[in-house]
């Protein structure tokens, strides 16, 4: 370490738990971050600042305005840029002694082992179950520690899964939840500071693993409730029947994680879009309303979303999805009805309920109010 580095890390070096030995370990270490989003932001910043010698980043996404509320690695000027570029620039600025290795790919069963193999520690900051199970299984197969974090709304979870010394993600969550039943942050929201807390804890656990100090969260799941400000620690045991790290594993190579999680392939994903319900495009609906056609427009989102933006100017009214069945008498099956929500998913559910109730002249606004904002009225706010 040169003089500049010794000065830079002096607050580490004066603690005997780190010292020159620990700091050299950090410098010689390599960490792979899966995701440069909400969790990856504090994680990357603290790992770089701490002097982790090599930081790999897997991300293929582009910075969007809706990311900035929590993804503090990226700035307003970065909107539209690949996250990996923006992240590398920022982390190099934080600490030029750190080597940033970009992996601008989607982690898949084909590339995961090769991407992960060169690194000492993997940190899971993903937003979806297929990648989470893939990361877990690849780490088990390669014998790497997997520093897990996940967040939703006001809740966070952290653990260190290291199958050599304790349980893995699958020992706890053996099978994925039914597809579509656990909302993502994009659907359910997340308080911006929460990934800051959970991602920082992941950085802490990563650094502890590298310097070999303290008690890592191996075999423990830390649960955080931000509203109550309550922490719980759950002791986890290795499951001898775990399909990947148990005594007789059935998963001995990477599998098809999209199929395992019951989700359509990424290419099909967008196209599928509740194809079994009749839809109307934002443009067509707009034309028909402007022409004066009598169409009942119903918003099935929640009241706080209605407050952000709505189509009241076209006579839309609000019937949240979970109240639809009890408010059915307010709708007339002789009328033409169009349902909308944010993106078209909830309104597709509403449509199915209505068709089950015998309504025939009902359509789903394809792409929701987001499509309306994009195709019809860009002056509306997007959320």
């Amino acid at each position: 370490m040169g003089h500049e580095e010794i000065e830079r890390y002096s607050r580490h070096l004066i603690m005997p738990e780190v010292g020159m030995t620990g700091q050299r370990r950090l410098k010689n270490a390599s960490v792979l971050m899966i995701g440069a989003g909400g969790l990856g932001s504090p994680l990357g910043l603290y790992l770089a600042a701490a002097g982790v010698g090599k930081i790999g980043i897997v991300d293929f996404d582009v910075v969007d305005t809706t990311n900035l509320q929590r993804q503090v690695l990226h700035g307003t000027k970065d909107v539209g840029r690949p996250k990996i570029e923006s992240a590398a620039e920022r982390l190099n600025d934080v600490n030029p002694h750190v080597e940033i290795v970009p992996h601008e790919v989607r982690l898949t069963s084909e590339n995961a082992l090769d991407v992960i193999r060169p690194y000492d520690v993997v940190v899971d900051g993903t937003d979806n179950f297929p990648t989470r199970y893939l990361t877990n299984d690849a780490c088990v197969l390669l014998g790497k520690p997997n520093v897990y974090g996940s967040i939703f709304r006001f809740e966070g979870q952290v653990s260190v899964f290291d199958a050599r010394h304790g349980p893995c993600y699958r020992c706890l969550f053996r099978e994925p939840p039914p597809p579509g039943m656990v909302p993502s942050c994009a659907e359910g929201g997340v308080l911006g500071v929460l990934p800051g807390i959970i991602g920082a804890l992941q950085a802490l656990e990563t650094i502890k693993l590298i310097i070999g100090r303290g008690e890592p969260l191996i075999g423990r799941l830390l649960l955080f409730d931000a509203l109550a400000i309550e922490w719980r620690t759950l002791k986890l045991r290795k499951n001898p029947e775990c399909p990947v790290c148990g005594t007789n594993p059935t998963v001995t190579e990477l599998i098809d994680y999209l199929e395992f999680c019951g989700v359509p392939s990424y290419e099909e994903g967008a196209a599928e879009d509740h194809a079994d319900v009749p839809t109307i495009s934002a443009k067509e609906l707009h034309e028909r309303l402007e022409r004066g056609d009598t169409i009942r427009v119903v918003d099935v989102r929640e009241p706080h979303e209605w407050e952000i933006v709505n189509l009241a100017v076209y006579g839309a009214d609000l019937i949240p999805l979970d109240t639809l069945l009890e408010r059915l008498p307010e709708l007339d099956s002789a009328e033409e009805i169009v349902f909308y929500c944010q993106t078209g998913a909830r309104s597709a559910k509403a449509l199915k309920q209505l068709r089950d109730a015998g309504f025939r002249k009902v359509w789903n606004l394809r792409g929701g109010i987001r499509a309306w904002q994009k195709e019809v009225d860009p002056s509306l706010p997007r959320y």
Binding site: Q71, F129, I151, L172, C185, P195
Partner: protein
């Protein structure tokens, strides 16, 4: 996570009245009375939790999902109910 924080049902305050007819559990670290014969499945239903979306740890052992309906809760059982959480955000 945080599953089971919902109040109601047989509260701790009713403990003495219910003694003899119920069993005392620890659910996510809090005391909770349930009627004798309550299964894990009944408890999840009472808490409005979808079985497929939670992992139940009973006395440090993860309980297989297909056993929820057949597992009757016993005095002193310690349960931890953990939600699936998907994100991360936009990785």
């Amino acid at each position: 996570m945080g599953a089971g924080a919902k109040e109601g049902w047989v509260s701790v305050g009713q403990r003495d009245e219910e003694r003899g007819t119920g069993v005392l559990l620890q659910v996510n670290g809090r005391e909770r009375w349930v009627p004798t014969g309550t299964t894990v499945g009944d408890l999840l239903a009472e808490l409005d939790l979808v079985a497929a979306l939670v992992v139940v740890e009973r006395n440090r052992e993860i309980l297989q999902r297909d056993l929820y309906g057949r597992t009757t809760l016993a005095e002193g059982d310690a349960l931890e109910l953990v939600h699936f959480v998907g994100g991360g955000t936009d990785s």
